[in-house]
Structure formats: structure tokens, C-alpha cells
Symmetry: C2
Subunit: 373 residues, 2 copies
Amino acid sequence: MAERLDPWGTLEVKDYDRLRRVFGIRPFQEVIPKLREAGFEPSLHMRRGILFGHRDFDKVVLEGLRSGGRVAVLTGFMPSGRFHFGHKLTADQLIYYQRTLGLKVFVAIADAEAFAVRRIPRREAVRIGVEEYIANLIALGLDPDETEFYFQTNRGAPYYRLIQLASGRVTAAEMEAIYGDLAPAKVVSALTQVADILHPQLEEYGGYTGVLVPVGVDQDPHLRLTRDIVDRLSGVVRLTRPASTYHKLIRGLDGGKMSSSRPDYTIFLTDPPEVARRKLMRALTGGRATAEEQRRLGGVPEACTVYDLYLYHLVPDDEELARIYRDCRSGALLCGECKRMAAERLLEFLEAHQSKLEEARETAWSLVEPPSF
Amino acid sequence: MAERLDPWGTLEVKDYDRLRRVFGIRPFQEVIPKLREAGFEPSLHMRRGILFGHRDFDKVVLEGLRSGGRVAVLTGFMPSGRFHFGHKLTADQLIYYQRTLGLKVFVAIADAEAFAVRRIPRREAVRIGVEEYIANLIALGLDPDETEFYFQTNRGAPYYRLIQLASGRVTAAEMEAIYGDLAPAKVVSALTQVADILHPQLEEYGGYTGVLVPVGVDQDPHLRLTRDIVDRLSGVVRLTRPASTYHKLIRGLDGGKMSSSRPDYTIFLTDPPEVARRKLMRALTGGRATAEEQRRLGGVPEACTVYDLYLYHLVPDDEELARIYRDCRSGALLCGECKRMAAERLLEFLEAHQSKLEEARETAWSLVEPPSF
């Protein structure tokens, strides 16, 4: 019961714990005291357990910084849809690492993967990569001067050399076990992600001593593959296993997956405010069948997709979030009122964010060198 | 019988014809008159039917030259052993195309493949690529000023982009049908070969209007794959299907495969003359059980690996070769004498060739930019 009453928890917390244990991922909470000892305040996602697991965060990031190393954080976005609140979860982590820990940020636009796996033409992938992903990241506060954005299709020879090297250090059986498929497009995409993760360590890209990769737990196969390949390339090229952190996934507004392909249940950061409000007002909550029943039994914030938005994005203040949680649980706060409150915060955020987007788009185009074909 | 009496034929000619028909390869002899019409003398390999098949040689090469296009010829060498008379067969073709047809020559050193498939370390692959392959090509007469030598591991972004694009246009089933295997190393190597063949057409590498690839018939799967990928990339990147020619394979001195891995039966262009002579004197011939029998029945040059050396390399004069053929057939020329004659020619060639090698090695090192790791 204690677990279910955790205001930072969700109904799926047990599944995440199971996943974590099955794959040997360490609980993130174990490194929070060390982060504080090193003089860093944990982020909202860390405090709230959204960041629930890690591999080697202490060794690569904390030890790396302590011993004067140069540490990078890297993520990739497939330019295949619009930037939504699921993407913002990753963006907020990058911004935290950039501002608070001073890590160098690398952002891969996975246009090679978009073409190979989803047949998205180059021009379209470049446009989406720049105008949706890079622009929204900048508008959210990622400092473009301290970030390296790049296209997978235009990253230079040493990066591609890693793909070639990696291809010789993994078997078909391993690929198939991880991805269930041996389509050449998937094999090459998987090896390209390995190169994404590892290349900041190469001299040509800055020679970083360690790389942190924040992902959803569904991306862990890529990290495990990369770690194995690092070991197998020992003696060929000197690399350190990447660190990784694992976050819980924010749900769509029907409780299912939040995804560009489900636009009715996904709030995009470029949604016109009225569109976003309409989606939110129809969202699945943890409310009861009737108002009377809800006043009597209280709501279930863990089951509520509006509460997800508070938890992940809209209520940065922990005490305020705890108050909302208690008021829902006690039956004092009903869903209609709660949704209006959420919509107000959401629209305030969207309007402020969108006012920065045009300039961010211009900046974004100035930063990248798209591939020639 | 007529076929077996052809001084340019070998015992396997029927197999080559069958292979040609099965895979839809056209007979090369059909383009020889067109080559002459265009003002070019056919090469020794063309005249003698060693070059027995082609795809699109007329369309890509002859039409290309006629309409003022820029045509390239490309081949790749895996830096995994020593340069032998099998490699010389390809080298001679490159030199002919360079001198007689004025084609631009590209030579890929397949160091990525060597690492991925045979685990040959980089330094070793670079050394072998430069000192064995590039140096021998130059010493044989390939003009280094009109040739582009490159490493697969250091060819720049547009080349790698072709690998990425190709990966999205081929299925696992097709790869497996062609190569019998889906090891990631093989998949990436196969797609890298596709990029080798196609990249001279890209603006960044000269924008050649057509590319010719001279291969042994065992390499045809790579050409078929490349042709299919060209078709499937239509609308993404404008490419023309490569032309290809197919040569018969010279046999090793025991009648088996000529290969670096069978050094006793393979003459290397860097063999000390006395080593080469010893190998030659032990070679399998088409001789009879006794000298008496051979004087009576004649020898079988088609079964003779020494005759192979004459046919492919050591006797450029057709009339002289026909005389040797007749004298063997008639029983006038016995194997002992014939081998001594072959050894004399071989040693003369090797000594002249090896006297150019040191300077060619220096030139070779000055031409290439090896990868950084």
C-alpha cells in the first residue's frame, strides 16, 4: 500500500522494477546521495523516480567529473513525427545535464534510420529534424552554443568506421535475439546507433572520456549491444562502456502509448493551444463513475493521464504536486476542476514555448549541415 | 571437338557458358566488333575469350564514351594476402581501360571487409593494401596520376550515405539467398561493396556517368544486388546500373584454386625468382604418363596450368601462343622443355617487375590517406 500511495509513483512501478532486475539495471536512487555529495542538486525527474534506473552513472559521470574528465551526454531523435511531451522528457534531462553538471550535449538526428526503417525521404527528414526536433530543443532551453546537433547521414569517416568495426564484432544470432529481425536496414540502423553512442569518445569528435545516454527502458537492448561491442573492440580502439539512465514513459491521454502516430492522445509542443485544450479535456483520468462516488472514495492519480502531465512536466514544485495528489486521493479535487487547472498550466506553457519557436527554428537551420543527398 | 581445339579455350569453357546463361550474362564476343568500330583494339583477354561475359558493356562504356560521358572502371582488392597472377589478370584489365579507352580508374582497398570478415587489424590491412596491392599495380603500369586509390574505411560521408540508403532497399531474404549468411559483418561488407561500385557516380567523387566493374564470375551476386538497388533507389538518388565484365579464373599450379592461402600452387609477383621457378617446375601439366606416349598422342594444353600462364600472362603474341598450342597437341613439345621455356619467361617478367617495386612502394605510400584508427 505504501508504494501505491507514493505521489511520484505510477501503477506500473512494479513492472519497471521487474524490468530493472531482469536486465541488471541499478536503481537510480542509489546515486542520488553521491550526486548531492558532489555538489549537484538532483533533477525533478531524479527526485520523483521518473528516472528509475542506471548503468554506470556513478562510474562514468560522477567519477568522470570528479577526476577532471570530459563527459558527454547523447541522445537521438528519429525525425519521423512531431515533437511531443514524451520527447520533452528527454529534452529536460539534456538541459539539466548541460546546465547543472556542465556536460557536453550531442543530439543525433536519426535520418539514416528514418530512411532505412520508415522510408522517410531525405528532404523531409532534414526538415523535420531541424524544425521539429532541434528547434523545440532550443526553445525549451538547450543552449545551442554548447550542443552538437548532427545528422547520421553526414557525420564523417571515423563515425562510419565505428559502424564497420562494430559489424565485425556481433553475430546474426545476437542481432536477432535483440531485435527479432535481420532486415539489413535494421542491422545497419542498430550498428549506426552503436556509433552514435560511442563516437564522442573518438579524438575527432572531442575525445570525451565518457558518454551518458538517457533512454526509456525499451531502448536498453541498444545499450547492452553497445557495451558488449566496446568489450570486444578492446585492443582495436580504446573505448569506455557508455553510462545510461532509464526513465519511465509518459502515457498518452487514453492511457496507451504517447506517440506521433496517435495524435488524438498525444500533446505536441506545436499544438495550437485550443487543440491541446480539447485533447486534454477528453483525457482518461483516475476518476470514479460519479462525482458523489469520487467525493466518497477519492480519485486514483496513479491511473490518471492528467496527473502524468503534472508529474512529468507541469508542476515543478514538489509540495504543490503532493497537495494535488492528496486532494485527488481525498476526493476534495474532482476531475473537471483538475482538468481546467491542468489546461491553464498547459496553455501557459505552450504559449510561452511557441513564442520562442520561430527564432529557435532560424537558429536551428544555422547550426546544421544537412547531407547533400 | 572444335571447341576443345580452340587455343584460347580451357576445359571449363562449358561451365562458364552455363553460368553465363543461367545468370543472363551476355557473351563478351558480341561487343568486340562494336569496340573495333569505336576505334579501339580489343585487349589480349578479350581476344582470347578470357573475358567471356558482360552486362551493359556496350551501353555504359561504348555508348557512354560515344556520347562524351565520363566513364570509370572500378575494382576492389581485399588486403589479406600477397599479390599473385590472379590479381594481375584484373590489373591488366585496368591498365588496358586506362591506356586504351581512357577510363578513370578507381581501386578500393577493402580494409573494412578485411577487418569485418577476416579480422585483419587495421595497420596490417593498410600495409598490405599499400605495399602489396597498390605498389604492384603501379609497377605493372597503372598510371598513379590517373588512378584513385582509396581505403573503404576513409572514403567520406557521401560514400557511407550510399551504404545507409542501400540498407533500406534490400531484404534479409535476398541477402541470405545471395550470400547464404546474415552475419552483420557480411551484410555490412556486401552493402559497402555496393557503395564501392556506385559512388564514382556521385558528384563528390567526380560524377562519372557510368562505372564498369571487371570481376570473376563468382562476384556476380554483388553486381546483381547492386543493379537491383540502383533500380530501387530511383527517385532518391539518380544512378545508372553498373556495367560488368566476367573473366575466367586462372588456376593454381595444381589445377585447383589460385589463392594467397595456397602459396605452393600460387605464384606471387614478389616471389624470389628461384622460388617461382621451383613452383613452376612442379606444376600440373596436360602431359601423358610417358614421353613416348606424349610424342604419340600429344599433350592437352587445356588441362595444363603452365599453358594457363602462357594464355593469361606470359605469351602476349597470339601467333606464338598458337604455335605452342600446336606443338603441344602434336607431341613435338614435351613438358620438361615447355616448363623450362615458361620458367625463362616467368623469371624475366618477375625480375623486370621486381626492379620497379621499391619505387612503386614509395609512390604508393604517397598516394593514400590511411584511416586514423
